[in-house]
Amino acid sequence: MKELEIRGSQNYVPVEIEDYPTSGWDKFTQVVKRTLKGELFVGLWVVFREMVKFDIHTLQYPEEVLPVSPRYRAVHKLLLLLESGSERCIGCGLCEKICIADCIRMDTKVDENSRKEVTEYSINLGRCIFCGYCAEVCPELAIVHGPRYENVSEQRAHFALKDDMLTPIDMLKAQKEYPGFGALSPNADELVKKTPLAY
């Protein structure tokens, strides 16, 4: 067995690797040994033992999902203003412009209050590379990456439409400020340059 160099403070355990057989006889004995040793039953025993003990370590997906880091970039969400419940998105089109996969599209028009209204917003998740630029460029913290990472679809072009991403109005209280990509830095207030307001 070769000596393995162990680096750093990590506790590496070298795996036992026997030398390869060279002569024909050695090869034959290795095959016989491996066939008749009964290692399979060792493994089966371990499984059976743990099953009886009900000591299960695997995640019960889809009942259970792994919690993801807030900085993880999964399927996008569109957020609402916490105070008024109106949409944060102003339709400036910066996300559409910055998107390097060219997968964001939006339709805008003038609404009855003479404000810019976003009538449709879609992201082609088949093209999206989840780079996070859209969330980073958004001046209103309207588009963020949410924690939903399931992207199974029957088609290559799989769209997330505005209704899928927008926080439902009855879920407004549960809407969390997004701490990840494109969020305000903790010292954002200090960075603001003040404009004189003499009146």
């Binding site: 339709g91 400036c92 003038v110 449709e120 404009t195 004189p196």
Partner: protein, 730 residues
Amino acid sequence: MYEMLLYLDGGNMINFKINGKDVVAQKGETILQVARKEGIYIPTMCYLEKTTPIGSCRLCVVEVEGYDAPILSCQSKPTDGIEVQTDSDELFKHRKNIMELYNVNHPLECGVCDKSGACDLQNKTLEFGLSCQSFTAKEQNRPKKDWGRIQYDESLCILCEKCVSTCNEAVGDDAIELHFGGYSSSIVPKGSETLDCTYCGECISVCPVGALISKDFKYTANAWELQKIPASCSHCSAGCEISYEVKHTSTEDQTQKIYRVTNDYEENTVCGAGRFGFDFGNSETKGDFSEAVEKLRNAKSIVFNSNITNEEAKILSEVSKKTGAKLVNREALNFQNFLKAFAVNAGESLYNGTLEDVADSNQVVVIGTKISTDNPAVRYALTQAFKRNRAFISYLHPVYDSLLQNTIRQFINYEVGTEEGVVALLVDTILENSELDLDIGYLSGETNVGEEELEQIAKISKRATKKTLVVGADLIAHPKAENIAKFLGLVQRTALWKVLIVPPETNSLGVAEICELSDEAVSPSVGYNMKADFVISALGGDFSVPALNQQEGTFVNLNREVVKTHVAVPFEGRNLNELANKVLGSDVENTIDYTKELFGTHFDDLEIFHLETEITSPKAEVSEVEDLPTFDGTLIYLSNPHLQFSPFTEKAISSEAPLLGSEQFAVAGKLSDGDEVEFEILGEKFRRKFQIDRNLRGVIALNPIFDMGLSAYSLSSNYRFQKAKIEKVK
């Protein structure tokens, strides 16, 4: 060599230095103009090449050695030997200060502003590295103003006054002005509560920020998303250079759609029809292809109009050569005959005037056209001639035009039908030693053109250095057009006057040059955007073809330039070329393959060029002016309102089409405002609302024809004054 001669001339050249570089200014040039010519950058916010310097932004300040205070380079002309500095720490500080002031209370709504991404204020703010604001002013309530197609947002306005000076000096509407009030200054409609103008939208075009915007376009697209398709406007013969700005229709629908039309406002001025009337593409694909081919193959005549590209005209003439069908286009035929007769005495096959000539002139005579609606580009050139050179403009027409009241110096009202006499008198006046044998007393009496008025034209003509005669559609479709054209030919021949004959339709000149035309249609006929037995059209009809913003090709505009247009919106069906391929048995892939046959260059390599004129030996033959006709009774002039030219503009812009008459006309015809009336002109029945227009004078009513569908084109090929019996609908 020519340059050297100018140099030696010396008197007109001024030598001075900008940033240490030796430069030469011609007399009359400002420091800014010289700097731009030399590629030296001086920032500006309010400067417009086509108007007199406004001087409101004060960014263009430069230092001149020996002077204490900086001066405005846009207004100052250099003197010999001065040394100009365009950039120094002091100037930078000064300019940065100005930019900071511009940003006081400028709403931070770049996120939604239509101008964002193409905004001068954004660009200059970044250029001067402004990162904070040290000034303050109390925010005021500045509500948005609704001005019809235009929206004015006072809070975004930086009061550069570009819009005011464009409206006044380039367009001539003079519809807006600056309301002085210090910090609460704003742009207001002149002399009325709401904006009352021709809605050319040039103010939107020149606005450096998002203060003046098109209401239809508002919030539908961002500047950077739109793809600019270079094109020539297809509505009138000016063929203005425009850009169709296109983007996909919506998230669901990927087909390209035109969102707006923009122009290079330093180069040209576009009218409202060009700017707002872009949505005339054909989305229908009606009709059976093989049936259309059969009809075209068996047609005895092909009726078409001049709202067509040169390539299509070429295709039609190829088809006509193959099948023996006659090409019928009365309006282009009139124009062709007019030019032929004109050439006899002019000694050139084409007229020699251009829009630039009109704008540079110091005397202009306009005859036989209601130019402000017939061809707004000529009107803008007239405005510029008046504003820049104080040009003496005479306007000869039976109908008074209030839109020109600030531009023209002399309005000569002649009797309807007497154009031949008027032209004879005019030509006799402006040509010294004309040797024309005219019965001036008789002509003057019949035409109602006073001798004093003509004398005034003659007097000015002696002094004026650049003179242009603008000739319009009334004369081209006149029964005596041939003799009129011969008279006009004499004017061009003298070389003292430029003559601009305004083609009546978009490409009348192109069609007149390409096609052999005849007058009367015989059955079975096929109409290309015209009424006939079988109609191939972009406006309904039996078989659908693409409209002019769905095609590539060339036009010949009124400057005699061959200009190009490109596809802005797709068309799903077949086009004329495919029909012609079947008839001709040929295999021409694209319509633009005919460009090479026409002009010898492939479409993609074609650059704008002037049509060459053939020089012939000029004659001096004019027929005697016989008895002039008199028109009695109710007279109607076929004339479209502003924003409208044809069924295509009608498709894009909806507007009312009332019969307009003066108060005098109403009294004479016992009509009152709002009456429903019926009348018949040239076999077409009209039913219209009568409206009194207080700006009109005299007893001629104006009847629009743009809403008559394909009949509009056949109507417009006639003499435009017609008698009619107007009946009130009970």
